[in-house]
Symmetry: C2
Subunit: 378 residues, 2 copies
């Protein structure tokens, strides 16, 4: 097989005048170094964690498109207060895409690289929204023969995040979990992991049909935040599970504080004496997403033993260490089409990923909607 | 000296119908057990941390008083949403007062207890708003001969909290501090500690005259939140000090989030490349007070490496361990009239502490205003 010398790669550029510019660049196909392999990217998901780099919080509703359909250029304005945080990337055309899967079509001289020739692998590390990507052989996750790259496209971000929540729970001494936006692809994985691992899980969803979906997977505790009895339902589920750790994908609004307050109510319901500073049981919410961009707001009505903080996959994996990470990766491969199966509503080419309709759809991060880019689809 | 058999003790009661009732009870003077001493309480401060138990978040502006001036009964309404959190204390008349100082007037048979007879000691552990208190000899902090009990009244809460902030900074790997409501008694102690220990400190105050007071003590970085340039001043001070840990006494409003965002700006100002999830430097705000009762609100514009949480002295001391605690206690004794000098604006008897004027004044927790109760003053 002869490889092309150039390829298409999706680029995101922020200009000094406050414009986001999305386009497809034509770049050289990289030559793998001795320890590297060249992966033909067959499938790469658009995860919420890709959107910050891709869209730079631009106003996509005001976006305009120009150029031919197979070589579009999209421009969208960026608010002035957002621009302040983007200064370090102004003027730099950046490749995008955290993860993907495909076939190794070339390899460096090292035996470990050569051994992967022809194999289907999953990769993480950026620039997966392009036709080819050179990566170190050691960073590839080798998939079983015959794996459809579409099944391997989301091997890292969602599976490791879901597994990371359970690992964090154990590392920090909690015994049960709360998860919000629980009907997401990631949320469904977490339901299956917790069932398998016997971890009590409280799922918070926003609509009745999402509750039905999770119950269909075997979820025991599902609380619908659109219900008038939500806070009582949540407190009852927290009392039943004893959960004192939550992972919140929404970030904004009052949900994080409501969870802490409900945890405190659940704890105090079992308390036998008055504690002037509230319970001494530490209650923690980690915010790992930003589905709700509004400010985070809470009453401090949950004692003094509490924390809210950011949670990000990469620092967690560094804390977990290499043996732990390898253990999690192996579990992902073993359960790729069961626990960690992903569902995509839209498969698009690189050019189609830059249609205004597509952008406005995935920018919404609606639960259930998920895009898969197929960079080598024609 | 013959001891009385009964004594007066301040009591706080929450009734089932949602009323706070403050009064002076007449109770038996306790008989010290073998390992205990009986302390005549000569001075006990009203700290912000006493107000939760004392006032139960009642509406003191609507309080009414009855009874004679030397035996007052004060009643104030408690809001229904506050009552929910007070259920475990309803109907229980509770003694109040976290700390105080006085003279050991009786002791149990144990030699350690006998050795303290006649000594001036500081104590912590509740019920110090009364004429006498029996405590284990081991929990007394022995003060040098001739110490005025008024100088020893606040040996624990403020000094150990201020020292605990610096210890927490070291334990959690930070190298500089931010402190809000920095002109308080505690804040002034912290300024002196940080100067002595060479810890860069950013003081946040709310009025220009408070900034002058702290600069008079030698404070280098003082930011006035009433200034139109506050956020820029804060960022500049954070850039100069590299502080990534803050202790916030206000709790409510936007200050905690503003501090995190300014920390992130200070960090990014030194960054050489764009990081899509913000800086990887962990930024932490501990809320240890609630001067601002409004909800806490923040934009999440400071990356993903951040935390906000409650901080309380007792759990911190348990984490520090006994040798560490003894080290801090010794420092308090050694520097009692210098670093840890407290200033009181009002000295009151037990009955005077229940005058409506006094209650409404100390309930405000205004910086600079501080009450000292002298339970044995006539």
């Amino acid at each position: 097989m002869t490889l092309p010398t150039t390829m298409r790669q999706l680029r995101s550029l922020v200009t000094a005048d406050g414009t986001l510019e999305l386009s497809l660049a034509t770049v050289d196909v990289p030559e793998p170094a001795g320890h590297e392999v060249l992966v033909r990217i067959d499938a790469a998901p658009i995860n919420p964690s890709d959107l910050g780099l891709l869209l730079a919080m631009a106003d996509v509703e005001s976006a305009t498109a120009s150029g031919p359909a197979d070589d579009p250029v999209v421009r969208a304005p960026i608010a002035a207060n957002v621009m302040a945080g983007l200064a370090p990337r102004v003027g730099e055309s950046m490749p995008v895409g955290n993860e993907g899967a495909g076939v190794v079509v070339a390899a460096g001289d090292d035996p470990a690289a050569q051994a992967l020739l022809g194999r289907t692998v999953a990769i993480i590390g950026g620039a997966t929204y392009g036709q080819y990507r050179a990566v170190p052989a050691t960073s590839c996750l080798e998939l079983p023969d015959g794996t459809d790259p579409r099944d391997g496209a989301s091997c890292f971000v969602n599976p490791l995040t879901a597994l990371g929540m359970v690992e964090t729970m154990r590392m920090e001494g909690h015994t049960a979990l709360v998860h919000t936006a629980a009907a997401s692809n990631l949320g469904q994985m977490l339901v299956k992991i917790c069932l398998a691992d016997d971890v009590p899980l409280v799922n918070v969803v926003r609509r009745p049909e999402q509750a039905d979906l999770l119950r269909g997977l075997g979820a025991v505790h599902v609380c619908d935040s659109s219900s008038p009895t939500f806070l009582d339902d949540l407190t009852a589920a927290l009392t039943a599970t004893g959960a004192t750790l939550a992972f919140d994908a929404t970030g904004g609004g009052r949900l994080a504080g409501q969870i802490l307050a409900s945890m405190e109510r659940a704890i105090n319901a079992r308390a036998t004496e008055y504690s002037r500073y509230g319970s001494s049981v530490h209650k923690q919410v980690y915010i790992y997403g930003g589905l709700d961009r509004s400010p985070t707001e809470f009453q401090r009505n949950f004692g003094m033993a509490w924390g809210i903080g950011g949670w990000l996959l990469t620092p967690f994996l560094m804390k977990l260490g290499v043996p732990g990470m390898l253990r999690l990766r192996q579990r992902v491969v073993d359960e790729l089409t069961t626990t960690f199966a992903s569902h995509y509503t839209d498969e698009v080419s690189l050019a189609e990923a830059l249609s205004l309709d597509a952008i406005r759809t995935y920018a919404k991060q609606a639960t259930g909607q998920k895009f898969l880019i197929r960079p080598n689809a024609r």
